[in-house]
């Protein structure tokens, strides 16, 4: 059931693996291996390393900095990055606003932003959700009023991932109150250093700070920061939903995590024997593994459709639901594997640079917080219930 690769693809896999092996700073690798919290610098350092190699945005058109790889190569690339314990690529710039600008941006916007995104010079965040507009995104109220050469923006965004690190936010705003609510929405780029932008962190149940409230009070945004036409923000948002579908399944990252389950279960003891020898636990791992194989099989079909130039079906929602279910199932296995050592919580132990001896085995500290934190995966990016609504409507025709 291993991926059968052509000789060229196998050589490519080897090349990527060797690159990761030699270029990923060991300290960052260690953090990823142990699930320790990554700082802004960890992500940026790694993305810049990829940039130096010309690999920071494989899916972009070649003339704009892409690699020209086949879909299968891009898949291999992602998998090697995951298996090599690299920090995940922060999607907001390279995989979200970048492709949006390529498809909808003005020449000036492309020239200004794309090279900066490619080189990870700006950190982007995504300002969609609001307190009153989560699943019902089109209900968003943040208002952008045209005033000469500017928009004056007022409102509040919430759950904004890494807004505290961000230089720029791509934002859905309301530019018209009349007509269908989707039609009054526009796509605006906001400089986070603008007067009137306030970021307030939200602590999540695992004790981490990755999401924020973003308050916008009379923020002046130059009109040239509008992407596409006024009132066409919803079209752009929908374009993004279908973009880079195969990435959201995160098959490579799940493979890596399943390896981790096995490694930990080989070290943990149960009745004096390694936990991995316990049939029930082994079968539970196998069950998730089969799920992951099925998921990967769908991903591969999507990729081969893409390679053959066939328009892929609306599989994004399936990949999101099943991908996050697998990820969450793995966090449960990890939680079970560490037994009593799921309990201790030393906040500093989740950060690199904590020099005290671990409580219990070194891999244990992050396991329960990770299980808690990963409940987010079925909520963000459109909840799994909303994804099912989409399948019901778009695929099954209800």
């Amino acid at each position: 059931m291993e991926l059968k690769l052509s000789e060229a693809d196998a050589a490519f896999r080897h090349e990527v693996g060797a690159f990761v092996e030699s270029k990923l700073p060991p300290e960052i690798r260690r953090k990823v291996e142990l699930g320790l919290r990554l700082g802004k610098a960890d992500y940026v350092t790694w993305q810049k390393i990829l940039y130096e190699k010309g690999w920071s945005a494989p899916a972009w058109p070649k003339e704009l900095g892409g690699t020209g790889w086949s879909p299968v190569q891009r898949y291999i690339f992602e998998e090697e990055l995951a298996l090599g314990a690299t920090p995940p690529i922060i999607a907001f710039g390279l995989q979200m606003v970048g492709p949006v600008l390529i498809a909808f941006g003005s020449q000036a916007q492309k020239e200004h932003y794309l090279p900066r995104i490619l080189a990870s010079e700006d950190w982007w965040c995504q300002g969609y959700s609001e307190p009153g507009a989560g699943s019902d995104l089109a209900a968003l109220k943040t208002r952008a009023l045209r005033d000469g050469g500017n928009y004056i923006v007022n409102g509040a965004k919430t759950w904004t991932t890494y807004a505290q690190h961000a230089d720029m936010m791509f934002c859905l705003v309301r530019t018209a109150e009349t007509g269908k609510k989707q039609e009054g929405i526009s796509f605006l780029l906001i400089d986070m250093k603008s007067p009137g932008v306030t970021v307030r962190p939200i602590t999540t149940i695992d004790g981490g700070q990755e999401i924020n409230e973003v308050f916008l009070d009379d923020v002046r945004v130059p009109a040239e920061n509008l992407v596409g036409e006024e009132g066409k923000g919803w079209t752009i948002a929908k374009f993004l939903l279908g973009h880079e579908r195969t990435g959201i399944a995160a098959v490579g990252r799940s493979k890596k995590q399943l390896r981790r389950v096995r490694e930990i279960a080989a070290r943990e003891l149960s009745e004096g024997r390694p936990l991995i020898e316990q049939e029930r636990f082994r079968e539970k791992i196998a069950e998730v593994e089969v799920d992951l194989l099925a998921l990967e099989s769908v991903v591969l079909r999507v990729l081969s459709d893409e390679a053959a130039g066939r328009a892929p079906g609306p599989q994004a929602s399936l990949l999101k639901i099943k991908g996050t279910e697998v990820q969450q199932a793995i966090t449960e296995l990890l939680f079970e594997a560490v037994g009593n050592y799921a309990h201790p919580y030393v906040a500093e132990a989740l950060e690199a640079g904590w020099n005290e001896a671990p409580i219990g085995p070194d891999y244990a500290a992050t396991i329960a917080p990770h299980y808690f934190n990963w409940r987010k995966a079925s909520i963000y990016g459109g909840t799994n219930e909303i994804q099912k609504n989409i399948i019901a409507k778009m695929v099954l025709g209800f």
């Binding site: 019902d136 759950w159 602590t203 079970e336 309990h343 919580y345 329960a368 808690f372 079925s378």
Partner: protein, 378 residues
């Protein structure tokens, strides 16, 4: 009125629920969890005043002689309030071991002190390698004349740092996982040779790793017959298991109510999200899991004094609660959307406690295996 309970039990239920509702609000709990010791001595004193610390202890020694059902009533309410005080460690585990195995002198000296809130205990039985098997004991107790020398490590000992005394399981004979050869020893927290490494837990409680290096205790510190403690340990862990299952039921109840209420107030797409049938059905699943858990846990509590039934009852309750707790906790977060993920909101804390109860005294798989083995043996 709760159908299965006596009039007195209903009074107890009312009073403890009222206390939690009025005097143990979430914000207070949050402050206590963040404080130095992680709970409140003032609250503990009130538990004593109300007779809750005395509830399951024998009448001959200052207790009220209550049954596991009274304990379940208290624990269910504690689960509603996410109570931080060391009731489980001191009263159920510590008090339970002493009641069952202590000498008359130990009982006379220690049980009234527990009941009056003057003595806190912790039970050190787990070890780094032991997972959920209480006979997987490597810690040694070597007889030295009339005394014992204790050496070894104990892991994740809840409320150890605030306990006056610890009850430590240690081998006087045999090898790890032998049923025979385990003893219980009372050790002063300040005892020479005992090192504690204390830390908070992910659900806001406190625990510690223990290292025992030539800790000397005299013969009078042995609780029960040295070498024959395993049946006592198992009996007390079964009671504790049922008690945390009751605590979990309280927590599940809060999550069920909170989620139902949230679905009524949160609107999206111009309607309360509770109008979406998929969400209703999800809450129905939560409700059913909660009702099934509650009924089974109280039945297990009623069976807990029956030697033939106790172990299977405890394991059955833990399996049911483990599965239901995971499902209810996850659904509660999911149905709250982003709100469920925030530290600020109580729901996430209930989810965390429920998750950790899942890993306490044996997880679902452990108790499933145990239940199957007990059934096969009977």
């Amino acid at each position: 009125m709760d159908g299965g309970l006596t009039e007195e039990q209903n009074l107890l239920k009312d009073s403890v629920e009222r206390f939690i509702e009025r005097d143990y609000p979430f914000d207070t709990r949050r402050e206590l969890a963040a404080g130095e010791e992680g709970f409140s001595h003032a609250v503990w004193a009130r538990f004593a005043e109300f007779g809750w610390l005395a509830a399951p202890l024998p009448e001959a020694h200052g207790g009220l002689g209550g049954s596991p059902v009274e304990v379940a009533i208290l624990m269910e309410a504690f689960g509603r309030g996410l109570v931080l005080e060391p009731y489980l460690s001191t009263v159920i585990l510590g008090g339970g071991l002493l009641s069952l195995a202590g000498s008359d002198a130990q009982k006379a000296a220690l049980l009234p002190a527990i009941a009056e809130g003057r003595l806190m205990l912790a039970f050190a039985y787990a070890e780094p390698q032991s997972r959920y098997n209480p006979s997987d004991v490597e810690t040694r107790a070597e007889p030295r004349g009339d005394a014992y020398l204790l050496n070894g490590r104990k892991s994740v000992v809840f409320h150890a740092a605030t306990a006056d005394k610890l009850i430590v399981s240690a081998r006087t004979a045999g090898e790890a996982r032998d049923a025979a050869g385990i003893g219980l020893f009372l050790v002063d927290r300040e005892a020479e040779g005992l090192t504690l490494r204390a830390y908070p837990t992910v659900d806001g409680l406190r625990a510690a790793e223990l290292r025992l290096e030539d800790v000397r205790v005299d013969g009078g510190a042995a609780v029960g017959e040295a070498g024959g403690a395993l049946p006592i340990i198992e009996q007390v862990l079964d009671r504790a298991t049922i008690a945390v299952c009751a605590e979990a039921v309280g927590t599940m109840g809060v999550l069920l109510e909170a989620t139902r209420a949230y679905l009524e107030t949160r609107t999206q797409f111009g309607a309360p999200i509770g109008s979406f049938q998929v969400l209703q059905h999800r809450v129905v699943d939560m409700f059913m899991a909660y009702e099934l858990s509650r009924a089974l846990v109280y039945r297990a509590a009623a069976a807990a004094e029956d030697a033939a039934d106790r172990a299977a009852a405890a394991s059955a309750a833990k399996v049911q609660v483990g599965k239901a707790g995971r499902m209810i906790g996850q659904a509660a977060i999911q149905l709250h959307g982003g709100m469920g993920m925030t530290e600020e909101f109580a729901v996430g804390h209930h989810f965390k406690r429920l998750s950790m109860i899942g890993a306490l005294f044996g997880d679902t798989d452990h108790h499933l295996r145990r239940f199957a083995a007990l059934r096969r043996a009977s």
